[in-house]
């Protein structure tokens, strides 16, 4: 197997010269994949709006709400189990022509699901969304109103908001300092793959185990009376809810089997398709009830579980490690038994990715702007090591990478766990994906991140080595005590506010209210230490507020929301009879997503240099200029940009400030504790918060104005500010201790497609990656699309529908993101390496 394309005909070669990789993909993929890829209704909003034809699904919400109302005397976990079972039994399902894998979160391919019981403020947004109501619109609006009237004040977020400290609640909900919702209704649920995706058990096995636990527990409830048996009654309820929903899940799969059989026996005339449909039927009769036996069953089981989890909660992430868990089946089917050809397997792999690509739930406008072009962060982990430390790459790792170039979806993307034993063949496949402009895989430094997992959360090494991306960046083991069932996005901090508030005595001029503590009038500061003290207090206040909110949300979630399905696939919950979200027995794996981080270092350094060291300007002048958004102070603004050292140039002046900020924050990360009494390390990165917050963060001493995009990465230098070349960038970033200073650090770099062409390009890149690894960086990702292509795509979006770019922690189709984000990407420095 080789990464170099086979003999190309002339037109393919032309496309290759012009780097029009999307045309090449279209010509090289199978007819089936071509059909399925084009059949997808794109759910990611285009710069904020849903594409024409996308409709909100009202079938699921109605079924769910009806049954929820009916069982009003049940405990919440049982109520959800019954409502969910009703959805599984009744929601319309479908099988697309040519497809071989089934399962969709919605009632038709063009629908987006709506989580009715998550947050009233999201429900209200439905009225503000033109065009997404199914026809007849009037009837749909009536249905929506009926559902909204019922849920108003009763959703998970409503319940949390009522018990939050009122001041915390107002500040949190202002949207200025962070985002998210403290509930598992919109969670990033880690999956306990070590429990259910190793081909060792199906739902029937889990149900049998639960029945044993119930029998044992019931013995106790008729035994000696005493306080130690009282908690058992609740556990029995939890177990019964798990069984109820797991049984419904098996029936859900069997509905697909029945549909496939009906199609094969009554509706389909093509013999080959009939055979495929019967295989779908056999597959869905088998999984998830029983353990999978082959690649199709393994993929199908995974996909159905992901789909069903989303019916339970709008999961905004898709933690996965597909090559590791499905790889043994690929090797068995393709390499040993030869029951599948490589081409047939490619069709399955491609469709597996397409099925994930088409998934999307309804999100309010602010959430869509924060994640332009996609519907969630499906960052799939590949590569890495096995629990014994040996190389985990297998034939499916390269098969996924090759197939990604044929499918060219922007979601899922891959993140590759690099380690010193990775073969050259695998690295070439990774590089080909980047060369084809996909922007993925991103690279993660496995030895560093395994050490990081152990350092911050005390995961034992064998468990740490199972890690997957729980969302964009942060690692999480897939083991019984290591997997984190709940991580909603509200511990997501808009960090630029730390320095902004330090300069304005905690007052937020953009939202117009006192937010942070009053740390003093910065006009009166006479040395840098005073400013840094103020910054430290603002940082501690901001992070603590967010973490308090998340902790409370998590603590109350089993009471306010309830996850019977997730519990049924989580070993810790099955064993103990608890809601998976309960922290009981979980080690803890929390992190703070630190958006808009680097501005802190660049801003503090600029003040130190120009005000306190060079005394070129006074604090008074600076604050005045910031308050006018630098209007009328252009020369002064340029001085703050160009006459003060900037992060990413291997300049200790500013790099030391960066380290001091990180280490001060890391110290606080150990003070704050999660519900498992573990730490809260920060992971600087941006998703596309750098754009979302551009109209929320005021003017800063690094030279930005209110309105400007913030820097794109977690530790990437500002666009165009990394003037000393790629090695200086790596050196600055290498000063950070990627094990102890935080949880993960996102670095975006742009490379030149011209320079990276051919074998020479690959060798240059390999050498660069060696430096990256030697310096101990934990992450890097690349864009390799030229200015020319991107400008052409801006001018003529219709012709460049398939150009993909790395935005921040994710990829998106370039034409789906706003002009500001596009310009921000184009102005990133193209590093010659």
């Amino acid at each position: 197997m080789t990464a170099e394309p086979a003999k190309l005909d002339v037109s393919l070669q032309e496309h290759e010269e012009k780097q029009e990789w999307w045309w090449i993909a279209e010509k090289k993929r199978s007819k089936r994949l071509d059909y399925l890829r084009k059949a997808v209704w794109k759910k990611g909003a285009l710069g904020g709006n849903y594409a024409p034809g996308i409709k909100v699904d009202l079938e699921g919400p109605k079924l769910f709400t009806d049954m929820w109302k009916w069982w009003k005397f049940d405990p919440i976990i049982m109520r959800r189990a019954k409502a969910l079972a009703h959805v599984f039994d009744n929601i319309p399902i479908f099988i697309t022509d040519h497809s071989q894998l089934v399962g969709y979160w919605g009632s038709a391919p063009h629908t987006i699901s709506w989580r009715v019981d998550g947050a009233s403020i999201v429900n209200e947004e439905l009225y503000n969304e033109p065009g997404i109501m199914p026809e007849p619109e009037e009837e749909s609006l009536r249905k929506v109103a009926e559902i909204n009237d019922y849920w108003a004040g009763q959703t998970a977020v409503d319940k949390v908001a009522r018990i939050l400290d009122p001041e915390d609640a107002v500040k949190f909900l202002s949207g200025a300092i962070g985002w998210g919702a403290p509930t598992s209704a919109y969670g990033y649920s880690g999956k306990n793959y070590e429990y259910y995706l190793k081909g060792e058990r199906g739902f029937e096995d889990i149900i049998a185990d639960i029945e044993d636990h119930i029998a044992e527990a019931e013995e106790k409830t008729i035994g000696v009376p005493g306080p130690d048996i009282l908690h058992i009654y609740d556990r029995i309820q939890n177990w019964e809810a798990m069984i109820l929903v797991l049984e419904a899940a098996i029936r859900f799969a069997k509905r697909y089997a029945r549909l496939a059989r009906t199609m094969a026996e009554h509706l389909e005339t093509d013999e080959k398709r009939k055979e495929e449909l019967l295989r779908i039927a056999e597959t869905c009769e088998r999984v998830p009830a029983k353990a999978p036996r082959n690649l199709q069953e393994s993929f199908q089981m995974d996909l159905l579980i992901q789909t069903m989890s989303r019916f339970e909660a709008s999961e905004g992430a898709w933690p996965a490690r597909p090559d590791y868990y499905h790889g043994p089946f690929y090797e068995k089917d393709v390499l040993q038994d030869k029951s599948l050809t490589e081409e047939e397997a490619t069709d399955l792999i491609g469709e597996f990715m397409i099925r994930a690509y088409e998934v999307g739930g309804f999100g309010p406008r602010w959430a869509r702007e924060g994640m332009q072009g996609i519907t969630g962060t499906w960052v799939w982990t590949i590569g890495g090591v096995k629990p014994d430390g040996s190389d985990a790459c297998n034939a499916l790792t390269t098969a996924f990478l090759r197939t990604a170039r044929l499918i060219r979806v922007s979601n899922p993307t891959f993140a590759f766990r690099w380690h010193p034993k990775v073969s050259d063949e695998v690295m070439r496949e990774c590089f080909e994906c980047i060369r084809h402009g996909l922007g993925y895989p991103s690279f993660r430094n496995d030895p560093i991140l395994v050490a990081n997992c152990m350092n911050w959360h005390g995961h034992p090494v064998e468990e740490a080595r199972t890690w997957v991306h729980q969302a964009c960046m942060s690692p999480c083991p897939t083991t019984k005590n290591g997997v984190q069932p709940f991580r909603m996005a509200s511990a997501t901090a808009n960090c630029a506010k730390m320095v902004e508030y330090a300069l304005h005595n905690g007052y937020d001029h953009v939202v117009g209210m006192q937010m942070g503590p009053q740390t003093g009038d910065a006009r009166t500061f006479t040395d840098f230490e005073q400013l840094f003290d103020a910054w430290t207090q603002q940082m501690q206040w901001l992070l603590s507020l967010l973490v308090r909110t998340v902790n409370l949300g998590r603590y109350k979630d089993p009471e306010f929301y309830g996850r019977p399905f997730l519990s049924g696939i989580t070993e810790r919950a099955v064993e103990r009879g608890i809601d998976a979200v309960s922290p009981e027995g979980e080690r803890g794996n929390c992190w703070i997503t630190a958006f808009t981080w680097v501005e802190n270092a660049d801003s503090l350094a600029a003040v130190k240099k120009l005000v306190f060291d060079d005394k070129k300007y006074t604090m008074d002048q600076l604050i005045t200029a910031l308050e006018t958004n630098w209007d009328g102070y252009e020369q002064m603004r340029l001085d703050f940009v160009n006459k003060a050292p900037k992060w990413g140039n291997d300049d200790d002046y500013v790099d030391d400030i960066m380290l001091r900020c990180l280490r001060t924050m890391a110290k606080h990360s150990k003070v704050m504790r999660c519900t498992s009494n573990n730490t809260w390390p920060a992971a600087p990165q941006n998703v596309s918060g750098n754009i979302h917050y551009s109209s929320v963060v005021g003017a800063l001493p690094n030279g930005r104005r209110l309105g400007d995009a913030l820097y794109d990465g977690g530790i990437s230098p500002g666009p165009g500010l990394d003037k000393k070349g790629p090695t200086a960038v790596l050196k600055s970033c290498g000063k950070i201790d990627h094990v102890a200073d935080g949880r993960a650090f996102l670095l975006n770099q742009r490379l030149s497609p011209t320079q990276m062409a051919g074998e020479k390009g690959y060798q240059l890149w390999r050498a660069y990656m060696r430096t990256w690894a030697d310096l101990g960086l934990d992450h890097i990702q690349f864009n390799m699309v030229s200015d020319k292509t991107l400008r052409a795509a801006q001018k003529d979006p219709e012709k460049y529908q398939e150009v993909i770019v790395r935005v921040a922690g994710y990829s998106a189709h370039f034409v789906d993101i706003s002009r500001k984000t596009q310009d921000n990407i184009i102005q990133r420095t193209i590093q010659g390496i």
């Binding site: 551009s694 995009a709 500002g718 666009p719």
Partner: protein
């Protein structure tokens, strides 16, 4: 400042500030309150340098190797 599209004249801050993706340059994007055109503005001179359409590159090529190569030619 005068809008090159509709000739509307007003002090620079009255043209709605959009953004500057290269904060090391004095060039910003602002919007004319009268004709809504997107304008590139030289903030030092206080003058618009022209209307900006889709695909235009007011800041020129991105920094780094491609620009270096171009400048070397």
């Amino acid at each position: 400042m005068k809008c090159p599209e509709c000739s509307y004249e007003a002090p620079v801050p009255e043209f709605r500030y959009l953004y500057n993706v290269r904060i090391d340059a004095p060039l910003t994007l602002r919007q004319c309150p009268q004709c809504q055109a997107w304008l590139s503005v030289d903030e030092l001179a206080g003058e618009s340098t022209g209307k900006v359409e889709a695909g235009d590159a007011p800041w020129g090529k991105s920094a780094g190797i491609e620009r270096d190569l171009e400048e070397a030619v």
